[in-house]
């Protein structure tokens, strides 16, 4: 069975210069698509990946990453909507390049599908009540 998941990797400072993602391809036959990458000097590295492959190999790959000391989180935990602040106006809908916001035609509420989110961050500042949050 194949799986495809969006994950956020945090690399500690000491690991930023090591070839880690390439091992996922070579050893576990996984495919990856980089959605976002940040490496700041003297700070940790951040990589947002869409990782896909055979379920068993995927699990092995994740175990390998964990063993190396990389911190892994699923993307859906990192891009969140503050439901208290969201007013369901709709200003985010046309801004989002991946179509993660959809208007429910009946309730006229804006639904957020974070599995479609690519963590580009455009909605963060375009949201008038500042309801969208990124917690990398």
């Amino acid at each position: 069975m194949n799986v495809s998941k969006r994950i956020v990797l945090h690399f500690p400072k000491r690991m930023v210069d090591r070839p880690i993602v390439s091992r996922l391809v070579k050893d576990y036959d996984l495919d990856f698509n980089i959605l976002k990458a940040l490496v700041t000097p003297e700070e940790e590295g951040l990589l947002v990946l869409e990782l896909s492959g055979e379920q068993q190999e995927y699990d092995k790959g994740i175990r390998y990453l964990t063993k190396t000391g990389v911190k892994i989180q699923s993307l859906s935990q990192d891009v969140l909507r503050n439901e208290e602040r969201c007013t369901h106006c709709g200003a985010c809908i046309a801004i989002c390049p991946s179509g993660a916001f959809e208007l429910d035609p009946v309730t006229r509420r804006v639904d957020f599908y974070n599995e479609k989110c690519v963590a580009c961050g455009l909605c963060i500042k375009a949201c008038p009540p500042r309801a969208m949050e990124v917690h990398f």
Partner: protein, 401 residues
Amino acid sequence: MAKTIEEINEKIKQGKAVVVTAEEIIGIAREKGTKKAAEEVDVVTTGTFGPMCSSGAYFNTGHTKPRLKFGGGRVTLNDVPAYAGLAAADLFIGAAALPDDDPRNKVHPGEFNYGGGHVIEELVAGKDIRLEATAYGTDCYPRKKLETLINIRDLNDTVLFNIRNAYQNYNIAANTSDKTIYTYMGVLRANLGNINYATAGQLSPLLNDPYYKTIGIGTRVFLGGGTGFVAWPGTQHNPDVPRTKKGVPTRGAAALCLIGDLKQMSPRWLVGTSMLGYGCTLTVGIGVPIPILSEEILSYTTVTDAEIFGAVIDYSGDYPNLKEGILGEVSYAELKSGRVKLKGKEIPTASLSSYPRAVEIASTLKEWIVAGKFLLTEPVAPLPGVEAGIKLKPLKERKPE
């Protein structure tokens, strides 16, 4: 069958009033006809929840010991400048005010994360606000400096005073240029990449009473989660615009100046808002009850999104240059479908006004009236109508000698 507001209030007190929202009345009138619906229904409630920049609040802080006079001095609230051109202990803060050290659009588009609208929201939420004041000192008001926390519960008078709210229809915004622009109508992508609008349409107060036959000065309203009143026509009140056969304006027309006690209000209905590249504002919740005094008044409240039209304006050229042109006219039913056809292109649409929150306001107001907690008021004076001959003037610039 004509009813009076007094008769309707009597029914409200007896718990017998029939109250429906401006959305519900559409189906009721379709089913029963306007004559029967007008006999049965006493009040139609409306609602709107959108960014309204001409909002503000004034309050009286109480006097310090020894005394200090804000008037003629300088005052900030959480670093946002407040207007201090009044007496000793009175302040006014506008929704669009910004801290002096906000970078504004120095790096475009500026974020505008905190301004006057946010101060008002936090004040209403019961949070402490940091007040800093400098004054010049007088014999009767000797103190020159003050830094203190203030909280709404300790203030004397706290009043929301919005000089222009609840616009009757509004511009629909698009961008024909080849780069993204950042406006008070939101982010507008290049080459007609999206269209933004800002009205609750068929639920919006003044679109349900297009000739102001019931809404006037003195009308009691839902304001920011509490009750308030129409104090005056809003600034730029401009009723003489093109209208549909049923009288619905197809351009921005009337507006309301609203006033109410901030202490009754809630941060759910007064939300500090940041428009990327534009500035800060306040998103305000307003609901107005319409007494069904006649079949004619009822028939106005049955207006649907398909019967309300607005003008699409180019915010990359015509709007900033104060030119009159429009890109086209579309109905709110089309806008609310998520896509409109314009200039041979299918364009995605989005709203800056929250329809689900407008529904919630109209429903809340309905509950208040049904429960006998909210009585209707007779206007003490009408809003100027089409016949008033108001013509909005641009500013004619003149060089001082």
